[in-house]
């Protein structure tokens, strides 16, 4: 079956949803602020005859209609990184600040890690973890190419991640950009639809629950955890949040994203989820002509130890 069939009941405009999923996505690059400004990247593209289009909701993103994001000087200089538009959203939600301690639990190949380091002005510590040693080499290559100096790379199972190798035992913020069924990337890689199975959905949901629970545990009271996937499956999204809300000391908070989103769903195939999962955001391809995505922001419970404890509520107020 085509897994997109099962999500038709969730979207308002089925035809637009299916039509968008069938269209390929353009190559997109993100400006690496550690090395260059968006204006500098534009100048270099102009000088080199590289065609580009702006992205109206993010001035550091450029669509490259001719593809080949690596075939130009800005890329060689580490000024740009090829990254799908929706993939920048979790770091916007995480909103890390210079000097903080941040965990990227499922980090390879490093698009979010490097964006986090950029948002931190390369100051503080971002711990980039992945259980897959082979994919870690891609992460390291990207981090070096972009000139990131504040990352530590670890190779652990995030579900029982140990902070023992680190100089601290809790994080200010954590990102769980979880391994998932990836139907949201079908515009880049249609094979994901052929490879989809319900068994995999259930297996990976168990992993997602374990990683998100560990992220909440490893983050200080008042800190922020962002959960994101590129799947539409409620089993891997709202059900994972519902599980962690019930088992860990945390709550979902309102947050803003700079494009059109739909709220998380509270019912799916006979299951019901905590009402607060509506604070999570679904990004459907037809809304903004992007890939599909899911993003939620959690505040870890308990009294914050200092004034930065309001981190989870800044930029809040809802969509």
């Amino acid at each position: 079956m085509n897994p997109l069939d099962r999500y038709e009941s969730l979207v308002d405009d089925v035809d637009a949803f299916r039509a968008a999923c069938d269209r390929p996505l353009p190559s997109v690059v993100r400006t690496n602020g550690i090395a260059a400004t968006p204006a500098r990247v534009r100048e270099a593209f102009d000088e080199g005859g590289v065609a580009y289009d702006p992205v109206d909701w993010h001035d550091g993103l450029f669509r490259l209609p001719e593809g080949n994001p690596g075939g130009n000087w800005p890329y060689v200089h580490g000024w740009t990184h090829g990254q799908e538009e929706v993939s920048v959203l979790p770091t916007l939600a995480l909103a890390p600040r210079p000097g903080e301690r941040v965990w990227d639990a499922c980090a390879a190949p490093g698009s979010k890690t490097t964006q986090i380091a950029d948002a931190m002005d390369d100051e503080g510590t971002v711990v980039a973890n992945d259980n897959n040693l082979g994919r870690l080499s891609a992460l390291r290559h990207n981090a070096e190419r972009l000139g990131i100096t504040n990352a530590i790379v670890t190779n652990q199972d995030a579900r029982n991640f140990s902070t023992k190798p680190l100089a601290f035992d809790e994080f200010d913020r954590a990102l769980v950009d979880a391994p998932c069924s990836c139907e949201g990337t079908c515009r880049k890689n249609p094979d994901v639809l052929d490879q989809w199975t319900l068994d995999h959905v259930h297996a990976v949901a168990g992993i997602q629950k374990g990683v998100l629970a560990r992220a909440v545990q490893a983050t200080r009271p008042g800190g922020v955890v962002v959960y994101s996937t590129c799947t539409f499956a409620p089993e891997e999204n709202e059900a994972v949040l519902d599980h962690v809300l019930a088992n860990e000391d945390c709550e979902l908070v309102e947050f803003d994203l700079p494009l059109d989103t739909d709220p998380g769903v509270t019912e799916w195939e006979g299951e019901t989820y905590d009402e607060s999962v509506t604070r999570a955001k679904r990004i459907y391809p037809h809304r903004n002509d992007t890939g599909g995505f899911f993003c939620a922001k959690l505040r870890v419970g308990g009294a914050a130890s200092d004034e930065t404890g309001d981190a989870a509520t800044d930029g809040g107020g809802g969509a």
Binding site: V76, G147, T154
Partner: protein, 183 residues
């Protein structure tokens, strides 16, 4: 997801070479034979490229394996048993210390000496990993930071080795790029 296999490549990650040790402040603080000190590393960048040690004041320096130095801008334990800490910066424990191309790219804009500015065609050849004759260079032999102009400003590309009128590109294979010449 437990990923129990290592692909049978036999990679071992338990030897001392997998551990990051912070560089001692000065040669007098040295506890490990042959290990560079922070002071020597900063002096080297200042002498070779004119980069003021103030540029690196907030960074720490670490050795893993035989002579590979990493630069880091965060908090870490000493030693650190992790996969990576910051970025690779400099190769020591050899007669001529060698900066990494990434270090040149990241910090080369502060350099005032041993910087060679390439024209558009030379820059494209350099990025592709090609060696080229450049007899007009009358500066030192050895490792140079190669730059070219992008939209009116010089930008470091990487590290080249200058010997016998020739600039050898030492851009690693995985980072070589086939680029159009931008005049």
């Amino acid at each position: 997801m437990s990923d129990g296999t290592d692909g049978g490549t036999g990679e071992a990650h338990t030897n001392d070479g997998q551990r990051f040790d912070r560089l001692p402040e000065t040669p007098a603080d040295r506890g490990v034979e042959g290990r560079a000190s922070r002071e020597e590393v900063l002096d080297w960048w200042e002498e070779r490229f004119g980069i003021d040690s103030e540029v690196f004041a907030e960074y720490s320096f670490w050795e893993k394996g035989a002579g590979k130095i990493w630069i880091f801008n965060g908090e870490a334990t000493d030693p650190s048993e992790v996969e990576a800490i910051g970025m690779t910066f400099l190769r020591t424990r050899q007669e001529h210390w060698k900066p990494t191309g990434r270090a040149a790219s990241r910090f080369g804009r502060h350099a005032t000496e041993n910087v060679i500015e390439l024209d558009p065609a030379q820059a494209a050849r350099f990025a592709a990993g090609e060696d080229q004759d450049l007899p007009e260079w009358d500066g030192d032999w050895g490792y140079l930071i190669a730059t070219h102009e992008v939209a009116g400003e010089p930008v470091p590309i990487g590290v080249g080795l200058y010997l016998y009128d020739e600039l050898r590109s030492v851009v690693p294979k995985g980072s070589r790029a086939d680029l159009p010449v931008v005049e």
